[in-house]
Amino acid sequence: MSTTADTATPQGLRERLFHAGYIADEDLASLVWMGLSLERPLLLEGEAGVGKTAIASACARALGRPLLRLQCYEGLDLSQAVYEWNYSRQLLEIRMTEAGQGDRGALRDNLFTESFLLERPLLQAIRSPEPCVLLIDEIDRADEAFEAFLLEMLSEYQISVPEIGTLRAISKPLVILTSNGTRDLSDALRRRCLFHFVDFPTLARETQIVRTLVPEAASRLVEECVAFVQRLRKEDLDKTPGVAETLDWVRVLFKLGHHELPIDPQLLMPSMAALLKTRNDHWQVTAERVGKLMDGPRMGQDAGVAAALK
C-alpha cells in the first residue's frame, strides 16, 4: 500500500490517520491534506487536552515520517531551538592543530562549518534527508522574538547562520504549530499558517475516539462516561476536561471493574480526580452535583444517540 497514493486526497488521508489511531473530522483531514499539498505550516489552536499534539504524532505515523518535537517555553532561544556551535569540539580541534597534528590553513576554513554545528529540532527538520513532521508545541509560551525568528523558517524553509550563510531545506517538513491561546500570536505568523481551531469533539465522535483507544472498556461504560463528560463541560469549570481526561477517566473506571457508571455518585467521587484538575472545580462539583448530572433527564438517551450515530 503506497502512502503517497493514499494521502493524495483528503479522504485517503483521513483513513490513514484513522489507521494511525487518530479520528480526525473531515475539516481537519482536509486541512492536513492542504498543508501537505501546499507545503504550508498548520496552526492548531484549542483548549488543553483536545488532541492538538496527538494530531502531529498521528500524522507522523500515518505518513511514515519521523517526528521532531520542539517544546516551547518562556526564554527559549536559538541555541536550544535551532543550532549551537560545538565549542568543545572546536577547541579540541584548535589544540590539536597547535600541537602540530593538523593543517592550520584548513583549520581556518573548517572551524565554522556544518561539521561543528550541533543541530537542534528546527535545523534537523529542514536538513533531514527525508521529509519529517515538525511539531512546534505551545508556541504561545515562547517569546515574541522567537516567534519572529520562526517567520523565515516557516515561509522560506531556510535558516540563516551568520558564520555559514543560509541553510536551505533538503526536504520540506510538515510543520504543525500548536497554541493554547494564552497570548495572541502575531498576524505575520498567523498569515503564514493554515489555521484550525480544535474544538471539543461531539458526543458521537468522542464515543468513537474512546472506543477506539480504550477497546477493552465495556461499550455501555464508554457511552455513559462520554455523555457524562459532555454534560460536565457545560458546567462553568476552571479547567474544562478534554478528550485526554475522558480517556483517563474511562481507563480508571475500567480498572476499578465497572461495566457501567455506578448509580451511587459517592462511588464515582474518587475517580473524579481524572476529570477535575483544580481545587475550585473539586469544590464546585460535589457528589450531589455529580448525581444531578447523572440523573439528568436523558443521559441514557444521550448515550443512545451516540450509539445510533456510530
Binding site: 565549542y87 577547541l91 489555521f195 484550525h196
Partner: protein
C-alpha cells in the same frame, strides 16, 4: 453553485469580491491568501468540491472568533438563496444589511456627500454625558454633525448606558493601545542573556572551567525589565448600577490584555480576577453572586484600605504600577479617609488614576480633599473617551 454576475465572471475577480466581503468583517486577507485559495481550489479533486469551505476557512481565519464566524459568511456570500432573510442580487457584492447597519451606512454616505454646507445642524444623541465638554472626537476634528450624519462612528460617541451587549467587544483594542504605551521599567538587577548586553567577567571565567580555562564563550548580562502591573477597582454600588457592567467588561479587557488584577467594591471588596480570566457568559452573574449582600452603599476609603491589606501586598503594587479606580466618587466614609488611603498607594510608587462616568470630575467632598493624591482624573463615559486612555500615562 456560485451565481455568475456580469461584473465578475472571472473566478479570481469573484474571489476578490469574496475577500473584500471578508475584510469588511474583520478578516485580514491579502493577495497571497487569495492566490492560495485559487491554488487550493485547483488542487482539490473535482468530486470533492464541497470541502472547499473547510479549506478556505483554514486560509482565511486567523483566530478562534474568525474561525467561528467564517461558515456563516461563506454561506451568505456564495449561497445567499439558502440563507433566510438575505438575498444577493446579481452585481451586488455585499450581503443584505440589517436595518441598523443600513442606517449607519446611509449616515456615512450622507456625510460624505453633504460636506459641511448642509443646513439643519443637529448633534447626535450621546446620552447623559452629552454636554459641551463631551463629543471630543468631533470637536477635535473641527467638524460638526450635519443633518443627523456624523464623521465618526456613532458607537464611539454613544454613552455606555445606551450600549447593547453585542457592542462590548470593542474594549480590547482600546486597552491594547494603552498597553503599547506602557513602558517596561529598567531595574537595577541583571539577568543573563545569550547574545546582548555587557560582558560579565565572573560568569565568563566560571564557564571557561568547562573548556580548560579557555574562554570560548562570553557570558553576557543585561538589566532586568519589568512590565508595570495594572490594578483595576470597579465601584459596583447602587449609584454606579448603570455603568458597572460596562466597567466590568472593560476590566475584563484589562485582565485579558494586560494581565491586570480586577477588584470590585461597594461596602466590601472582592477579588474577581479569576472570574474574569475565563470566557464565560456568566461573568456578570458570578460577580453579582460575589457582591451579593454587600449592601447598596459605597465605602470607598475603607474598601481601598481593605484591598491594600488583603489583596494587594507590596509585591503586587510597586513603583510605576497603575492603580485605576472606576467610580463616581460618592463615599459614605469620613471625607479625609480617602486621601489617606490614596496617599498609601502613592507611597508604594503606584500611579493613581480615577476614571469617572461623568464628564466632569466628581465633586464629592471626599474626592475634592483627595484630589492631590490622584495623578489624573479622566472621564470614561463612552468609547471616544476611552481612546484617550494612553493619556493616563502622560501626566504620571
Amino acid at each position: 453553485m456560485v451565481t455568475p454576475t456580469p461584473a465578475a465572471t472571472d473566478p479570481r475577480a469573484q474571489l476578490g469580491e469574496f475577500a473584500h466581503y471578508l475584510r469588511q468583517h474583520g478578516f485580514a486577507l491579502g493577495y497571497a491568501e487569495i492566490e492560495l485559495m485559487v491554488e487550493v481550489a485547483a488542487a482539490l479533486p473535482l468530486g470533492q468540491w464541497p470541502r472547499i469551505a473547510a479549506l478556505w476557512r483554514g486560509i482565511a481565519s486567523g483566530s478562534q472568533t474568525q474561525w467561528r464566524k467564517y461558515p456563516d459568511l461563506h454561506q451568505a456570500f456564495w449561497f445567499p438563496h439558502k440563507v433566510k432573510g438575505s438575498t444577493r442580487t446579481s452585481g451586488l457584492t455585499q450581503r443584505a444589511r440589517s436595518l441598523p447597519e443600513l442606517v449607519q451606512q446611509m449616515h456615512q454616505d450622507m456625510s460624505q456627500q453633504s460636506g459641511n454646507t448642509a443646513p439643519g445642524e443637529a448633534r447626535p444623541t450621546v446620552g447623559q454625558a452629552d454636554d459641551a465638554a463631551s463629543g471630543d472626537l468631533e470637536e477635535a476634528g473641527g467638524e460638526r454633525a450635519q443633518g443627523g450624519a456624523s464623521s465618526t462612528a456613532p458607537l464611539d460617541q454613544r454613552d455606555f448606558a445606551d450600549w447593547m451587549p453585542g457592542d462590548m467587544d470593542r474594549f480590547e483594542p482600546v486597552v491594547e493601545a494603552l498597553k503599547k504605551r506602557l513602558r517596561a521599567q529598567l531595574l537595577r538587577r541583571f539577568q543573563p542573556t545569550s547574545d546582548r548586553g555587557a560582558v560579565h567577567l565572573r560568569r565568563s571565567l566560571r564557564s571557561a572551567l568547562a573548556t580548560g580555562g579557555e574562554i570560548v564563550k562570553l557570558a553576557r548580562v543585561q538589566r532586568q525589565r519589568r512590565q508595570p502591573r495594572v490594578v483595576v477597582l470597579v465601584d459596583v454600588s447602587r449609584s454606579m448600577e448603570v455603568h458597572a457592567q460596562f466597567y466590568l467588561r472593560l476590566s475584563r479587557a484589562f485582565v485579558e490584555v494586560m494581565d491586570a488584577r480586577a477588584l470590585v467594591f461597594h461596602t466590601s471588596v472582592a477579588d474577581v480576577t479569576p472570574l474574569m480570566k475565563r470566557r464565560s457568559e456568566r461573568v456578570q452573574e458570578k460577580v453579582n453572586a460575589v457582591t451579593f449582600g454587600f449592601g447598596g452603599g459605597t465605602r470607598i476609603a475603607s474598601c481601598l484600605q481593605e484591598a491594600l491589606r488583603l489583596h494587594l501586598d507590596r509585591r503586587s503594587l510597586q513603583r510605576g504600577d497603575l492603580f485605576l479606580v472606576f467610580s463616581d466618587g460618592y463615599d459614605t466614609d469620613p471625607p479625609d479617609d480617602l486621601g489617606a488611603v490614596l496617599a498609601q498607594v502613592r507611597a508604594l510608587g503606584a500611579r493613581v488614576c480615577w476614571l469617572h462616568p461623568t464628564v466632569q470630575a466628581p465633586q464629592s467632598e471626599a474626592l475634592l480633599r483627595a484630589a492631590s493624591q490622584v495623578n489624573r482624573f479622566m472621564p470614561a463615559h463612552n468609547l471616544a473617551s476611552l481612546a484617550r486612555l494612553p493619556d493616563l500615562l502622560r501626566s504620571a
